[in-house]
Amino acid sequence: MITDALLLSAILFVIGTFGVLVRRNAIIIFLAIELQLNAVNVAFVAFSNLYGIDGQVFVFFVMTVAAAEAAVGLAIIISIFRHYETVDVNNFNFLKW
């Protein structure tokens, strides 16, 4: 039972990671990050079945932080889009030496 849940979690996390690495669109990268977070949430819930309620409490924290992060991240992406009319991250490499 736990193995299945953890397997699901691992698959979701790998998909998320893969998405972050290969996609260029900032919104898709964002979605992929959400997927990673939720993969972790699945693992938390699965473990809470074995070790007590702490895991589920933590999931709420993760969801809250994810919501806040989504709000800020989307605001930045919108702002970037207004300036450059694109959200392709390959165009943005100004922050270097």
Binding site: V20, L21, V89, N90, F92, N93, K96, W97
Partner: protein, 718 residues
């Protein structure tokens, strides 16, 4: 009423034989306050004054009404605080006068520093020796401050001058009043600092600021000796206060290595400060400062600090025959050496400078043969007549400078070859300087006769003691002292003749502008002249008092100073008596004190007359036309034995070459290069590593993932 209250000690009556000091701290505080007040005024006027000095010109302040307030106040503050300090000293002196004070009065104000077993109190010591020194410092100092009001009148740095002068007096008083060696050292260094500041007072002139540096650096060499001596004392006694050290000093072995080392190191310090061989070279150059400064610092007070040090440490020196012999020998050699140089100098202040070096040599001869009171006596009379000579020369230079200034002529106002015949224009200066000349030449009944004669006699007596160490040496010292006395008479007469007598070489147009010094300048001259005339009578030797020299007992005192200083010197004299036996009663070639006093004064008088004949008959040309080529010994003397050149060649240049090696090769070549290389490497590595920062989000995400996988992999595998 007020005065008697002050003397009586603020209302309550004193029991006989008790000395209650009257606010001695205020004596120190007054000059310090003067320094602060004048210093603030100097800062207010600082920029304008500095610019004027840098341009080498004078600030044209016009008439008195047009002078800025920063230039009128110092005229009152500077001499004013000195008058206060002198009166307070005088009150304390009178209070001490009538009582039997055997142990010094020590007043401690606070603990200056305390570390482990070492503690120094900020304490002053009031005893007969410090009182005499305080009287000289504040008294002569006051007169010189007054003189300065006239002399420095048109100088742009007027408030700054008085600030430095007040500060000097403060440090000099710390030097003589301090109750321990460290406190004395504070004064010692402080007067050195003020000396440096005042020699380089006209810092716009390269030569003058260099002279200041030279004085400061040469003094540092001596100060090393002072410090080492202090370390040795502390290592032995665990304290540096005068009273406990002198109390326990006799536990040291007589003539042992330690006491000899201590005294020799102290003498190194004294030789630096008091311009003795081989560290005398700074004093003639110190004449670059204003003339009243030469009078106060480089003649009357600061340079005598070394003599004071030896007299203060009389117990230590009495325990070390080698140390004392060194003091006497170096003093004698310096006295003769400097006197010969003075014979051929043309700069009026240079003659006086070498004369000072020579007279300081006398004082060291005195304290070197255990005649501490005689050394201090000569210190006192010398302060009177040498201050007078310097101030007189200042009045002359002032007049010459004024004459050249009015006629816009550029000639050296200090060169005696440009003077001559000045007695017509400056009668008061002429008379007072003759008094000082006769005093320094040692002619009866002027002050110098008694003090110099006592020193010469004490050398003879010491050399003739039953168990005198190195008797032959003392005979030689005695002969040298006599010879130097004769030379003194000669060069001083030459100075007077070249300056005041004969035909005027100043130039006709210029002569019209020559004038006698104003009252504020000649009044101090007159007072010092009186002191030069009568000052020696406080210490008429017993043997002389009843003879012709004491007018058959008519002179007022018998060895007053000697008795006065007895509480200070008696311990040293006991040691001397115990180790050397009774002092001799005849000079090396027979004859007693009275006979030799007569011989020396007669010889001095004869030399004065001979000098008048020789110098008076010689035609002197003014400096610009003087093409006299001296040869042989005369040339050697004119060039001061080439000592400065020798020092430059063997010491200054060696040090400079080494410094240049360390600068150009070691510092620039090795250290700087190494550090620069280190910088370049860091910069290069940083540049290379910064390439990893691409700014692309994917790169970061990829590196982050790979990194996480590696960490994970490693933790799983291990």
């Amino acid at each position: 009423m007020l005065i008697s209250a002050l003397i009586q000690g603020g209302g309550h009556h004193l029991g006989a034989g008790e000395y209650v000091p009257l606010v001695p701290g205020l004596i120190l505080l007054l000059p310090l306050l003067g320094f602060l007040a004048n210093g603030i005024l100097a800062l207010l006027h600082g920029r304008a004054s500095a610019n004027a000095v840098r341009e080498g010109g004078e600030l044209d302040l016009g008439d008195r009404a047009g002078r800025p307030s920063t230039h009128t106040w110092p005229s009152w503050i500077g001499p004013g605080v000195m008058a206060g300090a002198f009166l307070l000293t005088l009150v304390n002196f009178i209070r001490m006068f009538g009582v039997e004070l055997h142990d010094p009065v020590i007043m401690s104000y606070w603990t200056w520093m305390a570390t482990g077993t070492f503690a120094v109190e900020a304490a002053i010591q009031l005893d007969q020796l410090s009182m005499i020194m305080m009287m000289i410092v504040t008294g002569v100092g006051f007169l010189i401050h007054v003189f300065s009001v006239g002399y420095m009148r048109d100088d742009p740095g007027y408030p700054r001058y008085f600030a430095y002068l007040n500060l000097f007096v403060f440090f000099m008083l710390v030097l003589v009043m301090g109750a321990s060696y460290p406190l004395m050292f504070v004064g010692w260094e402080g007067v050195g600092l003020c000396s440096y500041l005042l020699i380089g007072f006209w810092f716009g002139d390269r030569e003058k600021s260099d002279a200041g540096k030279k004085a400061f650096i040469v003094n540092r060499i001596g100060d090393v000796g002072f410090l080492v001596a202090m370390f040795l004392l502390f290592a032995e006694f665990g304290t540096l206060d005068f009273v406990p050290i002198f109390g326990e000093a006799e536990t040291l072995a007589y003539g042992g290595g330690l006491i000899t080392a201590i005294t020799l190191f102290f003498f190194l310090g004294a030789a630096g400060k008091s311009a003795q061989m081989p560290l005398y070279v700074w004093l003639p150059d110190a004449m670059a400062g204003p003339t009243p400064v030469s009078a106060l610092i480089h003649a009357a007070t600061m340079v005598t600090a070394g003599v004071y040090l030896v007299a203060r440490s009389s117990v230590l020196f009495a325990l070390s025959p080698v140390g004392s012999a060194t003091v006497a020998t170096v003093g004698a050699i310096t006295a003769l050496f400097a006197a010969t140089i003075a014979l051929k100098q043309n700069d009026i202040k240079k003659v006086l400078a070498y004369s000072t070096v020579s007279q300081l040599g006398y004082m060291f001869v005195g304290v070197g043969v255990g005649a501490y009171a005689a050394g201090i006596f000569h210190l006192m009379t010398h302060a009177f007549f040498k201050a007078l000579l310097f101030l007189g020369s200042g009045a002359v230079i002032h007049a010459m400078h004024e004459a050249y200034h009015q006629t816009h002529r550029h000639a050296d106002p200090q060169d005696m070859r440009n003077m001559g015949g000045l007695k017509a224009q400056m009668p008061i200066t002429w008379v007072t300087m003759w008094i000082a000349t006769l005093a320094i030449a040692g002619i009866w009944p002027f002050a110098g006769f008694f003090s110099k004669d006592e020193i010469i006699w004490q050398v003879a007596a010491f050399g003739g003691a039953e168990a005198a160490p190195f008797p032959l040496l003392y005979t030689i010292v005695w002969i040298i002292a006599l010879a130097a006395a004769v030379l003194t008479a000669f060069y001083m007469t030459r100075l007077m003749l070249m300056t005041f007598h004969g035909i005027s070489r100043t130039g006709e147009r210029e002569s019209e502008h020559l004038h006698e010094a104003p009252t504020v300048m000649w009044a101090p001259l007159a007072i010092l002249a009186a002191l030069s005339l009568f000052g020696g009578w406080v210490n008429v030797p017993e043997a002389l008092q009843t003879s012709w020299a004491g007018l058959g007992g008519a002179l007022p005192t018998t060895e007053w100073l000697h008795h006065w200083l007895e509480p200070i010197t008696e311990q040293a004299h006991h040691i001397q008596e115990a180790t050397l036996g009774e002092l001799g009663h005849t000079a090396p070639f027979g004859g007693g004190e009275v006979l030799w006093a007569f011989i020396s004064t007669a010889a001095a008088l004869l030399v004065v007359l001979v000098a008048i004949r020789i110098v008076g008959s010689k035609e002197i040309r003014d400096a610009a036309e003087d093409k006299t080529q001296l040869s042989g010994f005369g040339k050697l003397l004119l060039n001061k034995y080439y000592v400065d050149e020798m020092y430059d060649r063997y010491i200054v240049n060696t040090v400079r070459r080494k410094a240049e090696f360390f600068w150009k090769v070691v510092d620039v070549g090795i250290i700087d290069r190494f550090l620069n290389a280190l910088g370049w490497v860091t910069k290069g590595v940083g540049w290379g590593v910064s390439m990893f920062q691409t700014g692309a989000v994917n790169t970061y995400a990829f590196v982050l993932t790979v990194g996480a996988l590696i960490v994970l992999g490693v933790s799983v595998l291990i």
